[in-house]
């Protein structure tokens, strides 16, 4: 009762990276709160594969739901698993990835349990809260921190009265813990799926699924050349690709550049895109909305190329080159040769 639950997303029998990141964060939060960390995983043919992937993250109780109707993922069976499990176990916190799956599943579960859900959190903390209206004091609430309003502000959201406090977090935002933290007394519970999922839940049929492994390696790249609206055109973006290739790096983009069609969506860096931690981040024509900063501020060295000396991103940059992308990038490439 009153524990922290992490919904572990799987691809076949492989638990996804974002789930490991959330388990790592969940372990920290559980230690702060003095409660247990529980994990939920649902799929088909996953027994004997998922346990050794999940338990090393310090999970106290692992709930396994293994049945044919649970793979490939469709919303309703997974939602029923979580809704019915949470009605029994009454978690205080539930974390899931802000992925296509988590963003499909989370709201459905929160609606059924009438609990609050905060999407795309960039930080999670524990703290007290005083409700000004009711005058009530709360201890140990989950602070769900996220940029809001197009990234113009940072909001801290709390759910004072409803449980579980639910939050989704984008892949790459939390750091995956290293080393084996398996608990000696960890428990694995194999549930009877029929007790949780009704036959009517399986109404959506997956006819075809074509998923290629991620085409880029932004999450693990050491060097990233990222472009914003200031790059000006799709043609100019080609320069970024050339420079990235010379530096053995990857190309990223701000939301404005993606919206303008300069770059494909899966290269978007920021709160609603990928979070990156490279050694060098070259920001080309990126003004630096908080929504973008949230996804790249942990880069070791930030180089900003911008015509605007006062661009917000310059405040977190180590090097600022005042000039246009068309002018500066060819000079960089020449210097590298």
């Amino acid at each position: 009762m009153n524990n922290i639950f992490v919904y572990c997303e799987i691809d076949g029998i492989d638990v996804s990276e974002v789930s490991f990141e959330l388990l790592s964060k969940g372990r920290q939060l559980a230690d702060t709160l003095g409660c247990e960390l529980e994990a939920v995983v649902a799929g088909s043919g996953i027994k004997d594969y998922v346990e050794r992937q999940i338990l090393p993250f310090g999970v106290d109780v692992l709930h396994v739901f293994d049945a044919e109707c649970l793979a490939p993922y469709t919303t309703l069976p997974h939602a029923e698993v979580l809704i019915n499990l949470f009605r029994q176990e009454k978690p205080q916190v539930c974390l899931m990835g802000a992925t296509v799956m988590g963003r499909d599943l989370g709201p459905r579960v929160s609606s059924a349990l009438k609990s609050g859900l905060t999407a795309d959190c960039t930080a999670l903390e524990i703290g007290p809260h005083d409700d000004r209206k009711s005058g009530r004091h709360y201890e140990n609430l989950l602070y769900q921190i996220r940029p809001a309003f197009g990234g113009n502000i940072i909001a801290t959201i709390v759910n004072p009265d409803n449980r579980p406090q639910m939050a989704t977090v984008r892949p790459g935002v939390m750091r995956k813990a290293e080393g084996d933290m398996s608990r000696e007394d960890a428990k694995v519970v194999y549930h009877d799926v029929a007790e949780y999922v009704s036959p009517e839940a399986c109404v959506v049929k997956v006819l075809k699924r074509e998923v290629k492994k991620n085409g880029n390696n932004l999450g693990g790249a050491q060097v990233i050349v990222a472009g914003g609206f200031g790059v000006g055109s799709k043609e100019n973006f080609e320069m970024l690709h050339t420079l990235a290739e010379m530096l053995h790096g990857e190309v990223g983009a701000s939301r404005a550049a993606v919206d303008a069609g300069f770059c494909e969506h899966d290269r978007q860096i920021g709160q609603t895109g990928v979070t990156v931690h490279p050694k060098v981040y070259i920001a080309c024509g990126i003004s630096g909305q908080i929504q973008h900063i949230a996804g790249m501020q942990d880069s070791s060295i930030i180089i900003s190329v911008n015509t605007d000396e006062e661009a917000p991103i310059n405040a977190i940059a180590d090097y600022v080159i005042t000039g246009s992308v068309e002018d500066v990038l060819p000079k960089m490439m020449a210097a590298l040769k």
Partner: protein, 263 residues
């Protein structure tokens, strides 16, 4: 066939001023210019395409917001929707996604559940993508999110979903809820004849009472999530090295990075 398009009027988050937030931490919509949420436009287009293929289809727009949000309904009608409703009431104000989906689902029950409820995947002011699935749950309907193409096949929909690194094709029985991504085809422009004809049309307004709603589940009081704090963004100033775009400056930066074995 009947389709309800869920649409939202959103503040243009690209131009936000200081007075954009109230002291309670909710959005001061009157201080901002308002636009038709982009993903909802893609959803409207999918609905209109179904109507193109099945002319006896009735497409309605449902929105919730302050009185001026009726512009959304009208905009939908200029582009081909048949009619629309605006849920507007002070009691709806300050709603989070759960209270919003309660109001929308309760209104849909009152109006009659259509064959398809379709909306954008997410709105640009909150980016939560929660309202669609929550409306589906409240109506006990199946949901398909991240849709890029929706086709009617008898009494089921065949939907192409745009998922992280690929596509998925699913089949879902009607009635159901569908949310559409911004990568789906853009909405057709206004139809000049319809725009002339519907320019002054009356948009039907619905209050909490009109939909037999429970006040406690609407607006701020129906919202489990509370905004604890709002921070403006202050960047920690670092020690910045400023360079010109001269060849020497750039050359010396690259040399410095190479010498430090950073690149």
């Amino acid at each position: 066939m009947k389709i309800i398009v869920l649409a939202k009027q959103v503040p243009d988050t690209r131009n936000v001023g200081k007075d954009a937030m109230t002291e309670e931490g909710t959005i001061n919509r009157s201080a901002l210019s308002a636009v038709f949420n982009p993903d909802d436009m893609n959803a409207l287009e999918q609905a209109l395409r179904i109507k193109d293929a099945n002319p006896d289809t009735e497409v309605s727009v449902l929105t919730m917001g302050p009185p001026r949000a009726e512009e959304i309904v009208r905009e939908g009608m200029f582009r081909g929707a048949d009619k629309g409703w605006l849920l507007t009431d002070r009691l709806f104000a300050g709603a989070d996604t759960l209270a919003t989906s309660y109001a929308l689902a309760t209104a849909i029950k009152k109006l009659g559940v259509p064959d398809i409820i379709i909306g954008g995947r997410q709105a640009i002011d909150g980016d939560t993508a929660q309202v669609g699935p929550q409306v589906a749950e409240k109506l006990s309907l199946p949901q398909v999110t991240y849709a890029e193409d929706v086709k009617v096949n008898g009494d089921v929909l065949t939907i192409t979903r745009h998922i992280d690194t690929g596509v998925e094709v699913v089949e879902v029985p009607m009635p159901c809820v569908v949310t559409v991504t911004g990568s789906a085809p853009a909405c057709r422009p206004r139809n000049a004849r319809r725009t002339m004809a519907e320019k002054h049309c009356e948009v039907m307004q619905l209050s909490v009472n009109d939909i037999d709603g429970d006040e406690q589940q609407c607006g701020l009081s129906g919202s489990p999530t509370k905004v604890k704090a709002i921070q403006n963004i202050v960047f920690q100033a670092k020690e910045v090295k400023r360079l010109s775009a001269d060849e020497e400056d750039i050359k010396s930066l690259i040399t410095e990075l190479q010498e430090k074995k950073i690149i």
